[in-house]
């Protein structure tokens, strides 16, 4: 029998893999044009990002941040909202975290301080997402436009706050003071020596927990059902008695809280101070991850690891191959977003034909 719809294994697995391969193929072409061997480069990339335990630790460290921003974008996307503002929300979450740290890090023990700082990051991220959510729900201002603007506002505001209030006296570097040791997220290396002295920390485990909670809430709870119904068809959601405006605002608050929590890994897991532009694009990578992972927990995890691997491997690659600049990572990332996001159904007709052909024969 002929089918007009692709089976789930095709949309969930075959298409993403084909898209990813296409992106890598174009990247390989670019590397070839730069005068390097694509095969050799790929070997270096995989070795440094996955095979080498320390490299893998770095990959997972980057992935921890991306899981949070990916979840942030995903949960909003499930409600039909395209939250472009995870970057700004994460940035603002960093401020919440830092304020909690600066006021409490000398008073509280680690087991109280870390949750307090996390709460600060989630609250500030949520607040920064609440405003666009409210404007969308009650005033109809499109969330894409407002969140983009809020990214800029966050960047400017943080610049001002850091430079004006947070730089310790006598310092030039636009960053807060270093937090006390009690505010450091425990590193996994202390339990698994093979991971070496890497910043991979408990945040990674928290990210996994967040993925599980997200999966359960979105697919197994009536709240998640209402969230998805709102995202798919607002008319029907209204018919079903769902409070659409409230759902939109709540989804944005959760999205912002998750984006805010992404700051925990990068600040408390690694730098231990707030610095200018610390999200470094992680919020935008979250968009790519949500698209590529199709807002599914497993998909989000795999794409986060992929992007983490690209950063880690790309970094080592640029060290070993002087012809390949470090920005190659951004280039490959762009290609992946292009193929997996904007052109995700590029191969769908061909795959469909192939399935129908094999079924006939």
């Amino acid at each position: 029998m002929k089918t007009t719809e692709l089976p789930r294994w095709a949309t969930g697995f075959v298409l993403p893999v084909l898209n990813l391969l296409s992106a890598l193929l174009v990247a390989a072409l670019a590397i070839h044009l730069l005068g390097e061997s694509p095969a050799e480069s790929l070997t270096i990339l995989i070795n440094s990002a996955v095979i080498n335990p320390e490299g893998l630790a770095y990959t997972l460290f980057y992935a921890s941040t991306f899981i949070f921003t990916g979840l942030a974008v995903s949960v909003a996307m499930k409600a039909g909202l395209f939250n472009i503002g995870a970057e700004g929300q994460m940035y603002f979450g960093g401020l919440g975290l830092t304020l909690a740290m600066l006021s409490l890090d000398r008073a509280l023990p680690a087991w109280l301080l870390i949750p307090a700082a996390m709460a600060g990051s989630a609250a500030f991220g949520a607040a920064w997402a609440f405003l666009p959510g409210y404007l969308q729900a009650r005033r109809g201002s499109h969330v894409v436009v407002t969140t983009i603007m809020f990214n800029f506002i966050a960047a400017g505001l943080m610049n001002f706050i850091i430079v004006k209030y947070l730089i310790p006296e006598g310092e030039q570097n636009p960053a807060s003071r270093v937090f006390s040791q009690a505010g450091e997220m425990p590193r996994l290396g202390q339990w698994f020596p093979a991971l070496g002295d890497t910043p991979l920390n408990v945040s990674f485990l928290l990210a996994i927990v967040a993925l599980v909670i997200y999966g359960v809430m979105v697919w197994r709870s009536s709240w998640g059902y209402e969230l998805r119904a709102t995202g798919l068809n607002q008319h029907a959601a209204h018919y079903a008695g769902i409070k659409i405006s409230r759902m939109i605002i709540v989804a944005m608050i959760i999205s912002g809280a998750l984006a805010g929590l992404a700051a925990v890994n990068s600040i408390m897991g690694s730098t231990h101070y707030l610095s200018l532009n610390f999200p470094a694009g992680a919020g935008f990578v979250g968009i790519a991850i949500a698209l590529m992972g199709r807002q599914h927990p497993v998909g989000i995890f795999l794409s986060s690891v992929l992007f983490g691997a690209l950063i880690q491997g790309g970094f080592d690659l640029s060290l070993e191959k002087p012809n390949i600049p470090q920005e190659t990572f951004i280039f490959i990332q762009g290609l992946i977003i292009l193929f997996c996001g904007a052109m995700e159904n590029l191969y769908a007709p061909a795959v469909l034909k192939l399935i129908n052909a094999t079924r006939k024969g």
Partner: protein, 509 residues
């Protein structure tokens, strides 16, 4: 004489669905030819092939005896084929004249051509007695007049073969009669008309020949004079259908719904509903008849909690419904549902189901708070048991709870919606257009369910634009026009002409 159109062995498949299979018949020049069949029987696909929207997988079309390949609608127009769609293709804020010229502007400078076109339009209007002012704006015209503009457009483009897709779906009885007069005039002038419909009476009234389609094939073809409605209906369905469904005696109980002095105005203070007084008792079906767009949808939205009225009182089982002091209806449908008001919405794809959800997920839609286990999570076991039971009891096909509901036929989607709303044991059931886009076999099953519900003592308020349906179900009939109730009658006073007049806005008398 050469037939105007001849289909030879046309086949067309959409994925697994064989929309047309080996369809062959011909349409005589200067005749009115009816094509009748259930939804999904392939009538529209066949006409879309003739009009160049789709290309047939195999087969041939002959126009005036010449084999033709019609790849686009431009080619169809060039061959003198015109189509009046069920949903009008008009730009609302442009004049009739501009709409007719659209796509045939005749050059860069509009003014000269416009004057010429206007003259020609007035000629056509006079010749075919189409009562349309070329300078009127479309949005100011009645639905019937808009349809005449569509026809005018086709004539202006010198169509000799006119396809009308369900042209009477939005018309009152009177408007239908005047449309038919126009069509007869066309026939006298030698034009060929193809009338697609699922209304048997229209076929009997106006066509010369009729082709019945079923499941993509020609199920029968005959001269209209030599057949009866019953024969045609049996051909359409493929089995005899019951014309009268069994129903218990009319024993209305207490007043379940009492609407008094209900008003609704939109943001521009335009009256959408005015002075609505209405009572529905337990164990009766009150049908609101009317041409669509005369306030029925708004009334149903208010009664189901989806929209707030401007003023008025609604009592449900003697208590006022809790909408006063509210600034928006967010979440109100859930509250109404909890009180015992079920709602089968008029537009099921917009409101009634989530296309991307599975059948099983759709069976709890609106009741998602009632299927939780003690952890507050979905009790999938209970949901799936309930779903299996509903699919069985309401004969939903296929009986696959995990298939996306968007892949079901309209009739089966509707069965899921009705099953869901009935299974919540409502005291009042609001039913909007329950058989729109539903095939005859399923209509019978849906009607049976609604009558059973009535016999069990549920109060049912039905909105339907199909008088046949009103006649088949109602105990009492309320006619609406222009947002007002223009008349009420009992089922034993059923009279198409009178209802038609009331639907057209003639006042209570």
């Amino acid at each position: 004489m050469q037939p105007a159109v001849e289909f030879r062995n046309i086949s067309k498949a959409f994925g697994p669905v064989q929309a047309n299979a080996d369809v062959s018949f011909s349409i005589a020049k200067g005749s009115i030819h009816g094509v009748i069949g259930e939804n999904g029987a392939g009538k529209s696909t066949l006409m879309s092939i003739l009009y160049g929207y789709y290309n047939a997988d195999s087969g041939q079309i002959l126009i005036d005896g010449q084999p033709r390949t019609i790849r686009t609608s431009h080619e169809a127009i060039a061959l003198g084929i015109g189509m009046v769609h069920q949903h009008f293709m008009l730009v609302e804020n442009m004049t009739v004249l501009d709409n007719v010229m659209l796509g045939a502007e005749g050059g860069f400078k509009l003014a000269a051509h416009r004057a010429e076109t206007e003259k020609k339009l007035r000629e056509i209007c006079a010749r075919y007695r189409l009562d349309v002012d070329p300078l009127a704006t479309i949005s100011d015209l009645s639905v019937g007049a808009q349809q005449r503009v569509e026809i005018l457009k086709q004539i202006y483009r010198s169509a000799n073969i006119l396809i009308l897709d369900e042209p009477t779906a939005v018309l009152t009885a009177q408007e239908t009669a005047s449309l038919f007069e126009i069509l007869r005039l066309f026939k006298e002038q030698g034009k060929t008309i193809i009338l697609i419909t699922h209304k048997l009476q229209e076929i009997m009234d106006i066509t010369d020949q009729v082709t019945v389609m079923r499941a993509g094939r020609v199920a029968g073809a005959t001269a209209t004079a030599e057949t009866t409605k019953e024969q045609l209906a049996n051909m359409m369905v493929g089995r005899p259908i019951q014309s009268e469904l069994p129903r218990g005696p009319y024993k209305p109980g207490e007043a379940v719904l009492k609407v008094s002095n209900l008003q609704l105005r939109d943001a521009n203070e335009v009256k959408l509903l005015a002075d609505i007084d209405l009572t529905v008792r337990a164990g009766e079906i009150v049908a609101i008849a009317g041409v669509s767009g005369n306030g029925q949808s708004e009334l149903m939205e208010i009664l189901s909690g989806m929209r707030l009225p401007t003023s008025g009182k609604i009592e449900f089982l003697g208590r006022e419904l809790p909408f006063a002091h509210r600034s928006n209806p967010d979440g109100l449908p859930a509250a109404f549902r909890l009180l015992g008001i079920g709602h089968v919405p008029e537009d099921r794809l917009r409101d009634g189901v989530i296309k991307g959800f599975s059948v099983m997920q759709n069976t709890v839609f609106g009741y998602q708070d009632r299927v939780k286990n003690r952890w507050g999570l979905f009790d999938f076991e209970a949901i799936s048991r309930r779903c299996a039971h509903l699919l069985e009891a309401f004969d939903v096909r296929p009986k696959d709870p995990d298939i996306r509901i968007g892949l079901l036929s309209g009739g089966n989607q509707q069965k899921v919606v009705i099953a869901r709303e009935v299974s919540a044991n409502p005291k009042l059931m609001l039913v909007g257009q329950p058989t729109r886009g539903v095939d005859i076999g399923t209509i019978e099953s849906i009607h049976t369910q609604l009558l059973r519900l009535r016999d069990e003592g549920v109060a049912i308020l039905l909105v339907s634009v199909e008088l046949e349906e009103v006649r088949a179900l109602a105990d009492r009939i309320v006619v609406m026009s222009g947002g007002r109730i223009t008349g009420e009658l009992n089922i034993d006073e059923f009279d198409t002409t009178r209802i038609g007049l009331l639907m057209g806005g003639m006042h209570k008398s």
